[in-house]
Amino acid sequence: MEMTGLLFYLVSILIAGGIYAILCLALNVQWGMGGLFNAGIAGFFAVGAYTSAIVTTAVSNRHLGGFDLPIPFGLLAAMLVAGVTGWAVAKICVRLKSDYLAMASVGIAEILRLVIVNEAWLTNGSLGISGIPRPFGDLVQGRGADLVYLAMVWLCVLLVYVLCQRLYVSPWGRTLRAIRDNEDSARAAGKDVDWFRLQTFVIGCAIMGLAGALSAHYFKFLSPSATEPLLVTFLVWVMLMAGGSGNNKGAIAGAILIWFIWSATEILTGRLPPEWITRSSYIRMLLVGLLLQFVLQRYRSGLIPEKSPKLRSD
């Protein structure tokens, strides 16, 4: 019993870790390859989660839809809507320079949050959406379902990884790194800098939407207070910096490592005296904040640093 309990605890960590790995790959497209600072990760994550929930739940009068479509449609719709949201944002903000884009992205996350909380016809407001289906929910129940879901999440991680890796080694990715490292010379070489940035932002946002959809189907319930947006955004940043920004393998490794540390500290703080237990999550946040400072000062290039692909000499 003890062993199976532990095993399924591990499964739940790996599912959440996989979802974070996808977010981290998405941020790696935007920041690692494109040099675009996005502090609004949680906003696009939420857009994806709500889209997939609305597309796949049964008809309800409490929120828009549900359209009762199969889950793959939900995932695709999540990527599409998050991508379009990203496009609208990028259309306005992508010309902003680094620090300004960072400031604007905080505002974007805030506006997306306001829409989700206030537009009850769309999202059922603060009451949230329940009854979100799990894939193969009719066939497998209980703990078996978690294993099936684990496989599905990591299949998505693999697909996203292959996609990001193709992007990275392609001429498109090379141009992107050129823009990131020296915008002026890329522009002088005739590259349409704003257009490349727009594409980067949209691709990253679409992948964040996919991660959001996967988390909605995992928890089967969504509400504005279910996740703390700032914490999600922040954890993804720590993961990417620790793993190695610019490297897709590093992004996945960082996500797993930091998520394991985060989950392990939950076990440790669970052993604290009772009067401290309610505060344990703040201690963990404090530790992750300090961990980021440590990584920034000592291991800036991360666990698996970026390595540019060799140029072919033809």
Binding site: R95, S98, D99, A102, V106, I111, Y282, G289, Q293
Partner: protein, 296 residues
Amino acid sequence: MIDFINLYLVPGLTIGSVYALGAVGISMIFGILRFAHFAHGDLMTIGGYGVLTAVWFIPIHPLLLLPFGMALAIVAALAVDRFFYRPLRQLPTIYTVIASFGVALIFRSLAQLFWSSGNQVFVPGVRPPVVLFDTFRISALHAQVIILTLIIAVALHFFLTRSKLGRAMRAVSDEPELASVAGLDTERVVRWTWVIGAALAAAAGVFAGMDTSMHPNLGWNLLLAMFAAAVLGGIGKPMGAIAGGLIIGIAEETVTYTWFGGEPLISPSYKSAVAFFIMVALLLFRPQGLFKGRLL
């Protein structure tokens, strides 16, 4: 019209004062250290809790205890600058932005750890508004906040234009290379930037916390509007930041006024989006702000 002044303009000026005091620090840090300080809102929170704690021990009017909050915020700011920002100073500034994002989380979790995550009020009870000429109903707190902000703004103006240190700050902000060639001690200027920025942030945090209540997210929720105020006033222009803060505060409150017919112009639940749109529009069309601030 009277309703407009009582319910929209004065609250707008009050929240605008909070933004103004916060934005001064953001603008000065941006001007001198060249990065967007994401932890500034949470620095306000720390200052607010400093005064809250002082009130527990010395039960007098919280505004008289402002120095305690300022001292706490100054110590916090100098410590994070020394340990977390200074080691990154030679790198591209975006790394410092990321570090300050982390510091925001550190400040917030410390606030939650030491002062709990709930809402806390400085002085319990409802205070009746002051009635002037039978028409203007203004809460005493709003009047105090606006007057104190004006006093701070005037003092800051004289400090920046008359004192040697203030002039050195403006010099480093305008032309860092020239200033260091001319023999100005840049690190000293940086230290005093943090001291002034943190002290004003603490005042803003206390004002905001007294207007509603203290909670750990207080400062972070105000950050966007303060960035907008700093951009509006022109980066590196403290006086511009004060004007920017007041404008953003008034804009946020007055867009919910029933200008045309019976409906508010913008639903009050979306008023924090106003700052964002002002900021983005400015960055695209007039990035130097109203007062010719520096460009990145």
